[in-house]
Symmetry: C2
């Protein structure tokens, strides 16, 4: 395959004309639609695509990519648009390929606990479809993301501590390559040793190696018993200590989420949570048989008490549990309400569990030094926590301070043997962390994979792997 | 990177001389040593390497690969030598890189439930080291394989149904690239969304993309309670039916292994198992708290009884459990003893659980039509079963019949949405299944990855991805 310069050599108008000739009204280029597909939460001045295609199936995607390849025109897959690291900014223009119309659940294989879906199905839509059969799909990034987008960013959420991330639950994919060819990866078998693991190469590649159009996913039986619980602590270190011991004991909690006092204050006000104090707080969930849940809860109660935790407040009714987790999933909006008019982005450090208390303490110290409002919320069972950095979008200085703080927190995580991003991905916004985290050698390997699978650099160019690593001849 | 013809253009003598100049007595080229490193169980006339290097560390591996690259000399990583699909046959000669001397456990991080080991540490050696800390590493291919070899072949074993395969338990790797550079993949964090998943690209790549020299692996706390159990059925379909329902219920069994009557007969005789009949049999293991194990066992007892299973015989004493699992791990040798002098290879079909009964029934019918002695044993909770095909190594006709049967069983699995190999890998022996399983498009993507990471085709050439797919200019 030929290696071409990374710079844009295409004629956007010719590309858009060719796409319009094939797709007619499904191709749109109005300012509002382009704006909607290029601007991203927290990202400075998002770059807009030249046009947006509303795809209706894998065939559309293959045709569109083939046309883009012929014109060396960038193409950016687009789901619910809820990614957080600038994955959708069209830094060199191009086509935004909107997959939300590809929203069919193609198969539910209850006997095998797997499903096949189009990439535009959202996690909530899938769960609505599964519920009647006693099944559920556990992964829940805060937003109602599409499953294609979740695979592309290797998303996880509150249940990952028990059920794994998109890396673990994705069995296979249908992918359109950079040449516009349709390939399938993986099988419906639970394991395979047959060749290179293409499924997990595309999961997390943010649309830079291929475009995911269909997914086979594991699903799970709804547990016989589900109990949510809340426990509050006097000091943050105590809450974190309880989490660390819980994980080290191997207690199979389904969810264990930390909210620091500032975040708890925001959630109490925003979601009108009653009966809680402004203190470091853990939200938990236990899944299993009735006896199993009781046993887990009792074991956790002993741990929490050892760390000075207050009474464990249980919610077992679906309605009560939903209110609790809705508050957790609204944490982002609750935090933003702490400073009306502010923009925000979230750090995403993830560390070995033994370093969690140190990592959070260092991050808090950095935030205090930076003087920013920065509540903490996190999937702490995985060692993953988010600090939401609020800043005035009109102030370049404040944004720069937030960016610098974000970079320092990434460095802290990497230094502790962890990662700059547990679940939000790299996109544009974390490109600068890649060499620190992976080293120049591994990054060069990633760049050679990008060149091998996308030699014209048309698939979401400029994302995931820094452009400098993609320089020909490296 | 340049693309070169796949054929050997090297001067083996010059390459060996250069290696000898660097490594002295650690490089050996005696016939016996070469024979030991090139001949493989069940493989016809294994091809021998030109020399064997006993590496003592990652630096040795990097230097050796750099010398091999300079001479375009093949290099084949070698662990315990227990792979089953011809992964170690030196089809174009070259250097066998023996990593068994790299056998240090570098770190045990009990608080994070992870370890760092050199590639030559065996699973039994790791477990011996972990036991005193109350930890264990669950994956157990039958042989006492090295952990580097297990990662390279994406191995699993009897516990994978509960703990996952090498795909799930490998956190990160140190890898020597085809250019002799040392890179690190992954972190010690439990999850990450930072770029391409190099760890899982190297896991299962059989030494064709890079050479694994160190691994970070998840380990687990030894469960509070472990109970093994055996239950026998009148008919194979009933035993399989019980497995399917167990998995569909989501019962978290740690092991659930099937032995058909022929394999059970072999094991009773070979391992002097007492108190069992020659019937379809399940060996199980339950891990958890005392109450949890009792609950799982009771739930399974109800399932087994529904399918006409006999009494559940428990073994909770370590000694009794060990005898049972030693018999299971000796199944290969027990089966070979059914026909003294015979050679054998194992099929490795893995299917969605709902198709397991059909797959086994079709495989048995094919084996009967082929007139071969072919006991069945399998990790049936994963949908994975092995048929051990015994044949007279002196009879070309019998070997050909066994090969044809093996190919038909692979086809059955693939047709049912499964894979030709659940855990043994591709090597040389299953190359012909790759296009059927993955399709030409996905296979071409794998070939382009191979070309990108190993442009000189020196890393275990001729394995994993069929050479025809690696032709330049694809």
């Amino acid at each position: 395959m030929a290696t071409l310069p990374a710079h844009r050599t295409t004629d956007a108008e010719a590309a858009v004309a060719a796409l319009r000739a094939r797709f007619g009204a499904a191709l749109q280029s109005g300012q509002a639609i382009r704006q909607q597909h290029g601007a991203q939460e927290g990202m400075a001045g998002g770059s807009l695509p030249d046009a947006v295609l509303f795809a209706t199936g894998t065939g559309d995607v293959a045709d569109a990519v083939a046309i883009c390849a012929a014109h060396r025109f960038p193409v950016i897959a687009h789901g619910a648009g809820t990614s957080l690291e600038g994955q959708l900014c069209a830094v060199r223009g191009g086509l935004s390929l909107d997959l939300t119309g590809m929203n069919r659940v193609l198969e539910v294989n209850a006997a095998d606990l797997d499903v096949r879906v189009e990439a535009g199905v959202t996690r909530e839509a899938l769960n609505a479809e599964l519920r009647a059969q006693g099944l559920f799909f556990p992964l829940d990034p805060g937003a109602n993301a599409t499953l294609g987008g979740m695979a592309a960013t290797r998303a996880s959420g509150t249940n990952a501590v028990r059920y794994g991330t998109m890396r673990e639950v994705t069995l296979g994919l249908t992918v359109v390559t950079a040449a516009g060819e349709v390939i399938r990866t993986g099988t419906r078998a639970r394991k395979s040793a047959a060749g290179y693991d293409l499924t997990r190469l595309f999961v997390g590649s943010e649309g830079t190696l291929g475009i995911i159009t269909e997914l086979s996913l594991r699903v799970f039986g709804i547990p016989e018993q589900i109990a949510s619980a809340v426990v509050q602590f006097e000091r943050l270190e105590e809450a974190v200590g309880a989490v660390m011991l819980t994980m080290q004991m191997g207690l199979p909690v389904a969810r264990i989420e930390l909210l620091d006092p500032l975040q708890m204050d925001a959630c109490i006000r925003y979601s009108k949570l009653e009966g809680f104090e402004v203190k470091p707080t853990l939200f938990l969930e236990f899944h299993g048989s009735a006896a199993g849940v009781a046993e887990q809860a009792e074991a956790f109660r002993a741990v929490a008490s050892e760390f000075g935790g207050g009474t464990l407040t249980f919610a077992t009714l679906t309605e009560d549990r939903n209110r609790l987790w809705k508050a957790r999933h609204s944490a982002w909006f609750a935090a933003k309400a702490l400073r009306p008019g502010a923009e925000a982005f979230a750090t995403d450090a993830c560390v070995p569990i033994s370093r969690l208390a140190d990592a959070i303490a260092e991050a808090r110290a950095e935030a205090e030094a930076a003087g920013l409002i920065a509540p903490i919320v996190g999937h702490v069972g995985d060692g993953n926590f988010h600090m939401l950095l609020l800043f005035d979008p009109a102030s370049h200085e404040e944004r720069a301070r937030a960016e610098a703080l974000s970079a320092r927190i990434a460095d802290i995580a990497i230094r502790m043997g962890g990662t700059a991003t547990g679940e939000h991905g790299i996109g544009l916004h974390k490109l600068s962390t890649m060499e620190t985290e992976h080293g120049a050698g591994a990054l060069a390997v990633m760049a050679s994979l990008k060149r091998a699978l996308d030699p014209l650099d048309i698939l979401n160019p400029g994302k995931t792997v820094p452009l400098s690593s993609q320089a020909p001849g490296h």
